[in-house]
């Protein structure tokens, strides 16, 4: 049985909305609004949702790349929300991030070798020679050539740059990697290569992933468990099989039915959702999904549902299930 690596407790991340000359604080964008879940060692937890649902803010808040507004994040049992700079630096050796756009996350004036080696340098790992060896070895592992150490980011294709982004995250041997839309900017033929690489590395390095994406087909392919987010909250969390074969929350159901399947014979029963995602500045009262829900009831407009356990260890936040 794998142990808990990360425990997130009632995490909130609000961004202030200001107005006027004095930047008065008038409201909050509630990007993440009370989220709790765990990430086990060596598992992939998929986090899926549409744009603006708070999935990226959540990913960044867990690594404290953004300061959480409230709540706790425990890493191996220690509350990292109270940690200072020195301790956070230690955390960076354990927990890394892969970004969506490798173009903007690599310094254009640094060679690939320096970009990756810099991580080791900052943490004071190895001599210059050892660092170079480590970088070369890792570059080969992610499918690049040793001579790429001398190249600059603009000389590489999108897929190659993402390989560098992955190498950069793995060079310190982390235990947790938050991958924020790592394949969304790539073409499908290259996307498959990178997904394979990400999954192979997980076995080799014993990694736990928090894999963030809006693409359900991708998340279904890589994840052990999947959390579905809507307007700053997790509305369903289940293992992959449960979620895809038998979604409980009406939003999950609609999301799944909106996935375009590459099969022209499949005439889908589509649950087309009306309307759009409401603003996270003023989320609707009661259940946040009630304005678009096809199964809305009276209680949904008044009381917000709580994420509750159901059979099979899955969680759902919906009044339909009491």
């Amino acid at each position: 049985m794998n142990r808990r690596l990360v425990e997130v407790e009632n995490l909130k991340k609000y961004y202030p909305v200001t107005a006027g000359l004095l930047s008065r604080h008038v409201a909050d964008v509630r990007a993440v609004d009370g989220v709790s879940f765990n990430i086990m060692e060596k598992e992939t937890l998929g986090l899926v949702g549409e744009s603006g649902c708070g999935k990226s803010s959540l990913g960044r808040a867990i690594l404290r790349l953004e300061e959480p507004t409230a709540g706790r994040v425990l890493y191996k049992g220690n509350d990292i929300t109270t940690w200072g700079r020195r301790q956070l630096k230690e955390l960076r050796k354990e927990a890394q991030m892969i970004f969506q756009d490798p173009q903007s996350s690599l310094d254009p004036k640094m060679t690939i070798g320096d970009s990756i080696g810099e991580v080791l340098l900052i943490h004071g790992i190895g001599t210059e020679q050892e660092r170079l060896e480590k970088v070369t070895e890792l570059l080969q592992r992610v499918g690049l050539e040793p001579e790429h150490t001398m190249r600059y980011p603009h000389e590489l294709s999108g897929g190659q740059k993402q390989r560098v982004g992955i190498a950069r995250a793995l060079v310190v041997n982390p235990k947790l990697v938050v991958a924020d839309e790592p394949v969304s900017a790539l073409d499908v033929s290259v996307q498959a290569q990178i997904l394979n690489l990400i999954m192979d590395l997980q076995h080799e390095f014993g990694l736990a992933y928090l894999f963030i994406t809006h693409d359900l087909a991708v998340i279904g392919h890589v994840s052990d468990r999947i959390a579905v987010m809507y307007l700053g909250q997790i509305i369903e969390l289940a293992n992959r099989k449960q979620l895809f074969s038998h979604p409980l929350h009406p939003y999950t159901e609609a999301l799944l039915s909106a996935v375009s399947v590459p099969d022209p014979h499949q005439k889908r029963k589509r649950t087309s959702l009306p309307g759009e995602v409401p603003s996270p500045v003023e989320p609707p009262p009661g259940c946040r999904f009630h304005t678009r829900c096809p199964k809305v009831m009276e209680i949904c407009r008044q009381e917000s549902p709580v994420l509750r356990p159901r059979t099979g260890g899955r969680l759902v936040s919906c009044h339909l299930y009491g």
């Binding site: 190659q160 033929s189 290259v190 498959a192 290569q193 609609a254 022209p264």
Partner: protein, 322 residues
């Protein structure tokens, strides 16, 4: 025999850049029939957008130039008609919508004005009937409270609503052909489905021909009658949606379909196409896919394959079939 209302023959569009001549569209042939939706599929840089822009002569020049070919619309060659005639055809005969509605709408005019502008220009209607028609169009594409919202500016609309406005503007003069370049790529899953429904309705109600450009095979399966697969500025395969998905002939089409993650089953590895998308400056001799092709033969590196008819509607450009 099917009647093509638009026929593209031997189209060559090159871009003259500092690093060399990019053969973005390199001898492309296909036709669009009345009332069909034809999908142009391919990855980034395959020349699909350049093909679409060439049809309406919207290629930026310099650096781009249409070198050769013919674009037959009824009895005219669009590449050789006068500027005045071309302006009549744009909007009136053939209309186009783009991927990013944000940048194709003018931020300082109300959306009503922008739709009305087209109607005034092309149909020369008076003020009252122009407004009536604008209102009707906005209602048709599903913009709620259209009468009030006509007076709003683009930034007051969400991405999905802006795309609806672009569609309304494109439809304003009742075009025969609608060219849609990645119209759903920037949208969220649930919103994308709403927009695709509009396209399906349009095709049915108006018998309009749609040239739908996308990289997403899932979308293609749900909307296409016929498919043109492009790779490296050339056509790889043409066929009905069933031909392409059930019996893909070209190894590239095969690869493209196989490398999609399957939502219903977690397999350990995705099939991927090795290598990366070729540069269109100095493409290899022979078949442009040969460096990545698992079934590449001697001849593939020497001779460019001709298009071969494999069944009634199904064409493939590959030496395996010649």
């Amino acid at each position: 025999m099917h009647h093509n209302i638009l026929e593209i023959k031997q189209l060559k569009t090159y871009f003259f850049t500092r690093s060399g001549v990019v053969k973005a569209v390199d001898s492309v042939n296909f036709g669009i029939r009345r009332g069909e939706s034809l999908c142009l599929v391919g990855e980034s840089g395959c020349g699909k957008t350049a093909t679409a822009l060439s049809i309406l002569r919207l290629i930026d020049s310099p650096p781009g130039k249409i070198i050769d070919g013919e674009i037959r619309y009824h009895d005219e060659d669009l590449l050789r008609c006068s500027g005045k005639r071309l302006r009549q055809i744009r909007g009136h005969g053939i209309a186009m919508i783009f991927q990013d509605p944000q940048s194709s709408l003018n931020p300082v005019f109300t959306v009503g004005d922008q739709i009305a502008e087209q109607i005034r220009m092309h149909l020369k209607l008076k003020r009252r009937p122009t407004m009536e028609r604008t209102l009707h169009l906005m209602e048709q594409v599903g913009i709620p409270r259209a009468r009030e919202r006509m007076k709003d500016y683009p930034h007051q609309f969400s991405g999905g609503m802006r795309q609806r406005i672009m569609i309304a503007a494109a439809l304003s003069c009742g075009p025969e052909i609608l060219i849609a370049d990645e119209p759903t790529t920037a949208l969220d899953t649930t919103i994308k489905e709403q927009i695709l429904d509009i396209f399906r309705d349009l095709k049915q109600q108006r018998e309009m021909s749609i040239l739908f450009i996308t990289h997403d095979l899932g979308t293609v399966a749900g909307i296409a009658d016929r498919i043109v697969v492009m790779y490296g500025g050339r056509i790889a395969e043409v066929g009905t949606v069933y031909d392409i998905f059930d019996q893909p002939k070209h190894p590239y089409t095969h690869g493209l379909i196989d490398c999609l993650p399957d939502i219903s089953a977690r397999s350990d590895r995705l099939t991927s196409i090795p290598g990366m998308i070729p540069s269109l400056i100095d493409p290899p001799d022979g078949c442009i896919f040969s460096p990545r092709c698992p079934r590449s033969m001697m001849v593939c590196r020497q001779k460019r394959p001709k298009e071969v008819i494999v069944s009634k509607e199904h064409l493939v450009a590959c030496h395996l079939y010649s």
